[in-house]
């Protein structure tokens, strides 16, 4: 997985033979399940403009069979437009989309055989749960006896046995979402699209359904594209996350890669929180020695390409900064003063001002230690590996 983030996997251009697709298994999908039933999908230079606004700007991306990929970004980042392009409700101005090797860019939605789950569920209010789930089967001319069997199986998959005859408005939000999922899966689509499917649910239910969706995806081995603006959903479920911003891909990678080594300030800020320090290279090398204008010196690895005097942005996760009230600043420990402290339940959050002048946010798990009061003298440190360089030029 590592290092495979960008594009052009030659294996995605292959004949549209379902058997060959099922036989082929990519590295990350095979780790989970031996024979993915989903299809690979490839985006090539997709562009979609609405008047002056470019909703999707030159998107190129390969998704392997059976992979769970999230499109993560704020509203207006182009993630939903991308999904609608895959579903066939929006035709891109340029570029092509291939599903299992077939060019589907201009194929009408009803012939794409893609399952879709909507944020508002879009259940048919006049049809019972069973009839809702049977709908895609009826549209495909599946014989009646098979429909009953497949609907029962889909209901079991989403754990809604016994609710067949209910109308959607007699179900809770979570149950409605399960029905929508069953309806999108019952015809065994090679690709499942989910557009903020948990957006309308409360937090507890969201976490529960995250686990459910992941379990179901493992069972059916479908390829999934999941659109969300919630970083937790994206991180807990995805094999890879595509962070989008203003219609462009900001970074693609596994949740771990994105969280540990975001390549832009935007990604570092959108997934979790980060401390950013502007610094200059004082001694080049691996690791290099950096120094902030205030005079904070630190060693950071992964900067072999820089030379002395280059400006760089250093990022450090607040939870990687260790804070100690009993130690004095010496060696790798920096003397500091607590400016503000907050009790956050499972964590404690501190704003500390280093004696050299820089300000950092530190978060530590609440393991029962007393909150350090503002004004207290403390020392902070971090492992050299926990600081990294944002390669992009300093943000405007």
């Amino acid at each position: 997985m590592k290092g495979s983030f960008v594009t052009a996997a030659p294996s995605t251009v292959r004949p549209a033979d379902p058997a060959s697709v099922a036989d082929e298994s990519t590295v990350d999908a095979s780790a989970r399940s031996p024979a993915p039933r989903g299809s690979p999908i490839a985006f090539r230079n997709i562009v979609k403009r609405y008047d002056a606004l470019t909703a999707v700007d030159d998107l190129t991306l390969d998704i392997a069979a059976g992979e769970f990929v999230s499109f993560l970004g704020p509203s207006g980042s182009g993630k939903t437009t991308t999904l609608l392009i895959v579903a066939g409700f929006v035709i891109p101005d340029r570029g092509t989309i291939t599903l299992a090797g077939d060019d589907i860019t201009r194929r009408p939605p009803y012939r794409r055989n893609i399952g879709m789950v909507y944020q508002n569920y879009a259940l048919f209010p006049h049809m019972s749960v069973a009839r809702n789930i049977a709908f895609p089967l009826r549209m495909r001319g599946v014989p009646r006896a098979d429909i009953a069997r497949l609907v029962a199986r889909a209901l079991a998959l989403v754990r809604l046995e016994g609710l067949d005859e209910r109308l959607p408005n007699q179900l809770s939000g979570g149950q409605q979402q399960r029905v929508a999922l069953a309806r999108a899966l019952v015809f065994e689509p090679p690709l499942l699209l989910m557009d903020e499917p948990l957006g309308a649910l409360d937090k507890k239910l969201r976490e529960e359904l995250c686990v459910e969706i992941k379990r179901i995806q493992r069972e059916i081995r479908s390829t999934v594209i999941y659109v969300t603006h919630d970083q937790h959903e994206a991180m807990t479920m995805s094999d890879r996350i595509v962070v989008m911003r203003g219609g462009r891909v900001e970074q693609i990678g596994s949740p771990g890669e994105l969280y540990e080594r975001p390549r832009t300030r935007f990604v570092a800020d959108f997934l979790g929180a980060s401390n950013f320090l502007e610094a200059k290279v004082t001694v080049a090398g691996e690791p290099a020695l950096l120094c902030t204008p205030h005079g904070l010196a630190m060693r950071v690895a992964g900067v072999a390409h820089t030379t002395v005097g280059d400006p760089v942005t250093v990022a450090i996760r607040p939870e990687r900064i260790r804070i100690d009230a009993h130690r004095t600043g010496a060696g790798e420990w920096h003397a500091a003063r607590v400016v503000d402290s907050a009790y956050c339940g499972e964590t404690q959050r501190f704003q500390v001002a280093l004696d050299v002048g820089d300000t950092l946010i530190a978060v530590r798990p609440n393991v029962g230690e007393a909150l350090i009061a503002p004004g207290s003298r403390v020392s902070v440190t971090w492992m050299p590996a926990d600081a990294w360089i944002i390669p992009e030029p300093a943000a405007p």
């Binding site: 939605p109 009803y110 508002n120 048919f124 209010p125 549209m139 959607p168």
Partner: protein
């Protein structure tokens, strides 16, 4: 100490009093016509001195009255169908598509509601003279549909606006071609609106007299037109009997439509 007159308590009865007076005013003609229908007297008079059903029998025995009734039924049924279909297509155009001049089209569709019926009737009469539709069944259906079609459009548009257009898209995404998605999803959801539009069309056509006076002949005599003639030339109490039947029929249709609408709303999962 004497109990004080409570102005506010008394004031609460004012709306009730007002509503009762309005209701009385609206119902007054019925209070005259219905007893008159059961009057034994051979001239249209009120109040009745002796009671009889002879004018109802007179109606049932008269072929001109029965023919007029049957014709009115036929016309009303066809008008109901035509205006519901036109209303549905127009409502779809106006609610689901945006195009240049949409507001103009909307205003044009609504025009028959604003233009006095007599103006429409005169216009129809002159157009029909040229194309030979005066005195024909088709002419009558077209004339009535002009008046009922805007109602159908309004009622069906309101129903369509309540249906999330994303549902139809979802159906298309699940494998339905667009027309199938419409029939499977949107149509059942707007059925209450369609039923109301059809009943409105039926009732308006069944009651309509102004256009009928202009474009019907002796061969295409509708019930309201027959009543009109009766009032002008006969003044027989049969008219009161026919009116009573019409009132009963209208009331039944309104009650039935309300019950049906409630039933459909409940079973469509919208309620």
């Amino acid at each position: 100490m004497r109990e004080k007159f409570d102005v506010f308590a008394a004031a609460r009865f004012v709306p009730w009093l007002f509503a009762s007076l309005v209701l009385l005013f609206l119902a007054a003609p019925l209070l005259i016509v219905i007893p008159a229908a059961f009057n034994d007297s051979s001239i249209l008079s009120f109040p009745p001195r002796a009671w009889s059903l002879r004018w109802f029998r007179d109606y049932l025995d008269s072929s001109s009255w029965i023919d007029a009734t049957i014709l009115s039924f036929k016309v009303a049924l066809v008008v109901s169908g035509v205006s519901t279909f036109l209303g549905l297509t127009t409502a779809l155009l106006l609610t689901r598509h945006s195009f240049v001049g949409r507001n103009f089209v909307r205003a044009l569709v609504m025009a028959p509601l604003v233009v006095p019926v007599i103006v429409i009737a005169v216009g129809l009469y002159y157009v029909y003279l040229r194309v030979g539709l005066n005195g024909t069944f088709t002419g009558l259906v077209i004339g009535h549909s002009v008046v009922t079609f805007p109602y159908a459009t309004v009622v069906i548009s309101a129903a369509l606006l309540e249906v999330d257009p994303r549902l139809e898209n979802a159906a298309v995404g699940l494998g339905a071609i667009r027309p199938r998605a419409f029939v499977e999803v949107t149509l059942p959801l707007i059925r209450p609106g369609l039923v109301v539009a059809a009943l409105f069309g039926f009732l308006i056509s069944f009651d309509e007299v102004v256009i009928a006076i202009f474009v019907t002949s002796a061969e295409t005599m509708t019930l309201p037109r027959r009543i009109w003639n009766g009032i002008r030339f006969e003044l027989s109490p049969t008219i009161a009997a026919v009116s009573t039947i019409l009132i009963a029929l209208s009331t039944l249709v309104m009650i039935a439509s309300e019950l049906l609408r409630r039933h459909l709303r409940r079973t469509s999962g919208l309620g």
